[in-house]
Symmetry: C2
Subunit: 251 residues, 2 copies
Amino acid sequence: MTSVIAVANQKGGVAKTTTVHTLSAALAERGRRVLMVDLDPQACLTYENGFDPDALEASIHDVMLGRTKLDDVIVATGDVDLVPSSIDLAGSEIHLLTKTGREFVLGRALKPVVDEYDYVFIDCAPSLGILTLNGLTAASDVLIPFQAETLSHRAVGQLLETIDDVRVYTNENLRVLGAVATMYDGRTNLGKHVLAEVSEVHDIEVLPPPIPRSVKVAEAPGRGRSVLTHARRSKSAEAYRSLAEEIERRT
Amino acid sequence: MTSVIAVANQKGGVAKTTTVHTLSAALAERGRRVLMVDLDPQACLTYENGFDPDALEASIHDVMLGRTKLDDVIVATGDVDLVPSSIDLAGSEIHLLTKTGREFVLGRALKPVVDEYDYVFIDCAPSLGILTLNGLTAASDVLIPFQAETLSHRAVGQLLETIDDVRVYTNENLRVLGAVATMYDGRTNLGKHVLAEVSEVHDIEVLPPPIPRSVKVAEAPGRGRSVLTHARRSKSAEAYRSLAEEIERRT
Ligand SMILES: Nc1ncnc2c1ncn2[C@@H]1O[C@H](COP(=O)(O)OP(=O)(O)OP(=O)(O)O)[C@@H](O)[C@H]1O
Ligand SMILES: Nc1ncnc2c1ncn2[C@@H]1O[C@H](COP(=O)(O)OP(=O)(O)OP(=O)(O)O)[C@@H](O)[C@H]1O
Ligand SMILES: [Mg+2]
Ligand SMILES: [Mg+2]
């Protein structure tokens, strides 16, 4: 049974892309077959995996417009597969805005390939627009990376409201797998306080472990890798591996 | 002569909102009259200044729809004025998409009030959509906060291309005031390297000083203040004050 996990948070820069990239690599290390879907017109996941989004022949954009099958745009990157994105995807958002069944496009496109994988991760843009709604509608689970800082609450709350709407209108079986504390600085009271608060206030689970802030993670994209290969034994790499284990236990 | 400064970077979480909030406070400390415009439907700037975006009678959304004059939605927050935002603003983006003259709405709305201020700061969302285009079209200057990490290059490059388009089509006098290194960790080679590279590769100035990463800045929103009052003498507060001085010198 494939787990399709939308990784979402409309707040910018909370390590959605980093989490998709690293968890996918960690699950592939454990022998799982993984597909990553870059659902952000800024295409950071695509770029981090060594592809030039502006030089692609085809991307998720063509799939969302119904011009191409998903199978034809998938590329291999290390031990993981990727559906790449490009800035053209911004055009899909505009195109889909007024179309009937607009939230179901990605889910339908994924259907023919989903059984070839154990995990499909969807990297969402920092927005709750129609692309992210497609991600949430196509998913079996949502994973919510958040920065343990003051503004996290509001974003998590808004996202959970959107998830409730999705459950009513377009995907009744969508489950919140949990939240992940990213770029975590455990030395500060702020970090510990917000971490505890997010699970209390929003009644969701914060999956263990938190991912520590580390320059090793920040350096990895520049080397075209995830932190798992850039800094194999670092605390952040090990944390992402434990998190992958935790996710396997729950899916 | 009022400086209207759009603070923009489509990459998420690079301290756009923090920079607008703190620079505005720093310039007000120096006796300047400052207006902040929250141009993000996520309304973080509004929330950080102690307003509940969901409880506002009117916001920038009503102004963008032509229902209200800007003067009627401005609120005072400490020594600075604010045009608050709310999630309704996402509706403006959809509404304006197909309207003629859609990039000029904010600029026209600002015109009657602009002379009452020395500085107007526009806090842009992490996107290059029609709201941000309104911000860039209404502005005399663009300030580009960036995180000195690997993905900064690409975002800065895309933004500069957008600015070139704006200069051709909707605002020929738009000037790039410069970039600001935010959440800067000067102890890492990555930070120093990316800082140098951004100005070389993109031929823009990185305004001194970089703003150091500090938990004091992260804590401030939870206290409903900027770091200037939350941690008056901290390195980050002093850095934002120096940056405000630098901006005054150049505007
Ligand atoms: N644990 C960590 N330690 C240090 N830096 C990190 C960590 N996780 C992510 N980063 C860095 O933080 C920045 C933001 O991360 P990322 O791009 O994954 O966030 P995002 O939520 O996908 O952003 P966006 O909202 O723009 O899509 C990147 O430069 C990334 O390398
Ligand atoms: N110098 C700093 N040191 C530590 N934390 C910081 C610093 N500057 C900003 N932050 C924190 O980083 C997070 C992101 O900052 P902010 O919301 O200002 O970014 P943004 O670019 O406006 O994000 P978005 O793209 O979502 O609008 C916030 O929690 C903020 O408090
Ligand atoms: Mg991302
Ligand atoms: Mg912001």
